[in-house]
Structure formats: C-alpha cells, structure tokens
C-alpha cells in the first residue's frame, strides 16, 4: 500500500484571482512582505499497487485525467510506502 499526496497548482501564467484576494487580506493584516500568493489544491489518497512503479503510473494517470486540467494546471506528487495494518492497530 502506498500513500500518495498530489499537489495541483495553477500554471504561473494563469491568473489566480483567489490568491490575489487572499493577498489583499494579508496586506490588511500587515503582512507587507508577502508576495505572489497562489492557491492550489492538496489531495491525498492510498493506492493499493504491487510496487512503486505501478503506484506511480496510477497516480500520474489519475492526476492527468481527473485531478488536474493540463490547460491551466500542473501537478506534482509523492508516494510513501504505508503499512495499513499498523495504522489500524493504533
């Protein structure tokens, strides 16, 4: 079992109105050093795959097909091996 975390970011050339609005809030609170706020998505899930390569392939396809839209977003992901049984005992 692998735990995957995917981060979906808006492409740098694409306007992020939400990030802009949040940054206005930052300025109001006095965080004057804050710049270029961009808001993305963090997604985590488990993959039951026989090895890392298979898990990577599945996460990549899932991210390309559904989690991100390549016209406006990029994604990156990481995988960690996960022992489910241990988790359950805790």
């Amino acid at each position: 079992m692998y735990k995957a975390t995917v981060i979906v970011k808006r492409r740098p050339t694409i306007l992020d109105p939400q990030g802009k609005a949040v940054e206005q809030g930052a300025k109001l609170l006095g965080f004057n050093n804050v710049q270029n706020t961009r808001i993305g998505k963090y997604i985590e899930f488990f993959v039951d795959a026989k090895n890392r390569e298979a898990a990577e392939k599945e996460v990549r396809e899932y991210s390309e097909k559904l989690l991100s839209n390549p016209i406006m977003e990029d994604f990156e992901f990481s995988l960690t091996e996960w022992d489910y049984s241990e988790e359950e005992v805790k």
């Binding site: 694409i14 109105p17 609005a21 989690l67 016209i71």
Partner: protein, 230 residues
C-alpha cells in the same frame, strides 16, 4: 414532427427545468430529461447540457460530470454530427470533456454575477445564430466561473475559423472591457467547435424565452437550431 430536445440532468443541475420549460412550454418543442446515469439519448435531436453546479463544482467545474455515463453517449452523438448545446455549467462540462477548447477560470471580480448582458453576434452564419437578424441579443448571466481562458494559439484559431459566436458587448454591439462581466479572454461569451455542431455559452438563453419575463432574445438561438434540423 416536433424537434426533440434532450436535457441532461446531473446531480446539482439547477437549470434543467428552465431548459425543459423553455423548450416544451414556451417554444412548443418536444423535450425530455436524460438522467446522467443512463446512456440512452432517447432519440433526441438536440442535447442540452444545462446550467447548475454538477457535483457541487468540486475539483473544477464540470470535471466530474464529464465522466458521467451519459457523457459517453453525448460524446459519440457529437462526433457523429449531433447538435449539443452547453449552457453555463454545460459549457464548462464541454470544455472538460474536450469537445470545445479552453477552460473556465473564476470571475476576475471573485464575485458571482447575476444580471442581464448584451451579446454581440460574431458569426450569424451558423446553425446556432442563423435566425438572429439583430446585432446584439439580451440574455442573463449567472455564474461565478465564467472567465473563459485559452492560450493565444487557441484564441487565434477560434478567431480564424469564426468559431466565436458571442462576445459581451453594449446594447449597440460595442465590445469593451466594461461590458465584460467575468474577465473572459476577448469578451468571449460563447464558442462552437470547428464542425459547427457543438456550442457552449455562459449566458442563459433558456431564461430569455418566455415573454412573461420581458426578454425573449434567447429563443432566437433555439429557433435557429430547430430551423437547421428541417
């Protein structure tokens, strides 16, 4: 024979009844709802993907609805030349499934817009606009993510192939930033595919059909489509 409009119902659609009502009760066409989990288009002549918030707009607008079983049938219907109209959320679904190019971003204002707008007819030689003799039409918009975006190459190709159908404008047809309700690239409100059988637009023509609402320009689009069927 009456033309038949199939209106797809996704979980979270909320303009499905508006479209059904406009087609059946106002314009007198045949209309039927198509459940998103079905695959049967029930011999519809035209498919309407209605407005709303399918799947709660989770992930991205239209991103999950495009994988609904009915969308396979809609996709093949469009590939065979069938007429598909995506309105608002329906437009967003057409972008996600790739029947039309581009994406929808959040409105630049970050606000949901709900008001009447004027659209300039950019190409009146299409099945969607043939019956419109006016320079502009008045229809309502109601959306939070209608900021149409595509890369420069795509916009250029849309322009070169006359695929842009409607732009936000003044009553007289002047296209300027001040008439743009959402920040859409080049004031684009509606486009079609190269083959001219799939259309997407953010404003709601189905909400401008019934004379009781004192605006009926939207009906011109549906009448154009129906004319092309016979």
């Amino acid at each position: 024979m009456k033309p038949k409009f199939g209106v797809v119902v996704f979980p979270g659609s909320n303009c499905d009844y508006d479209a059904y009502y406009a087609m059946k009760k106002v314009l007198g066409y045949d209309a039927e709802f198509l459940w998103h989990k079905d695959k049967d288009l029930k011999n519809s002549d035209v498919i309407i993907l209605p407005g709303g918030f399918s799947y709660g707009d989770y992930l991205r607008t239209g991103a999950i609805a495009r994988f609904s079983p009915i969308m396979d049938s809609v996709y093949s219907f469009a590939e065979k030349g069938g007429i598909v109209m995506g309105i608002c959320n329906g437009f967003q679904i057409l972008l996600e499934i790739g029947l039309l190019p581009g994406v929808m971003l959040q409105n630049v204002s970050l606000k949901f817009v709900c008001k009447d707008v004027y659209l300039r007819i950019e190409n009146n030689n299409t099945i969607f606009t043939k019956d419109i003799s006016k320079k502009t039409i008045k229809v309502p918009v109601k959306h939070g993510e209608g900021n149409y975006f595509a890369d420069e190459g795509t916009i250029k190709s849309l322009e070169e192939n006359s695929q842009i159908l409607f732009r936000y404008s003044s009553n007289e047809g002047e296209v300027a930033e001040v008439y743009n309700p959402n920040g859409a690239s080049k004031n684009i409100a509606g486009i079609m595919n190269k083959r001219q059988n799939v259309m997407g637009l953010m404003p709601h023509p189905e909400n401008a059909c019934d004379p009781v609402l004192r605006k009926t320009d939207g009906a011109l689009i549906f009448k154009s489509v129906v004319q092309s069927l016979f």
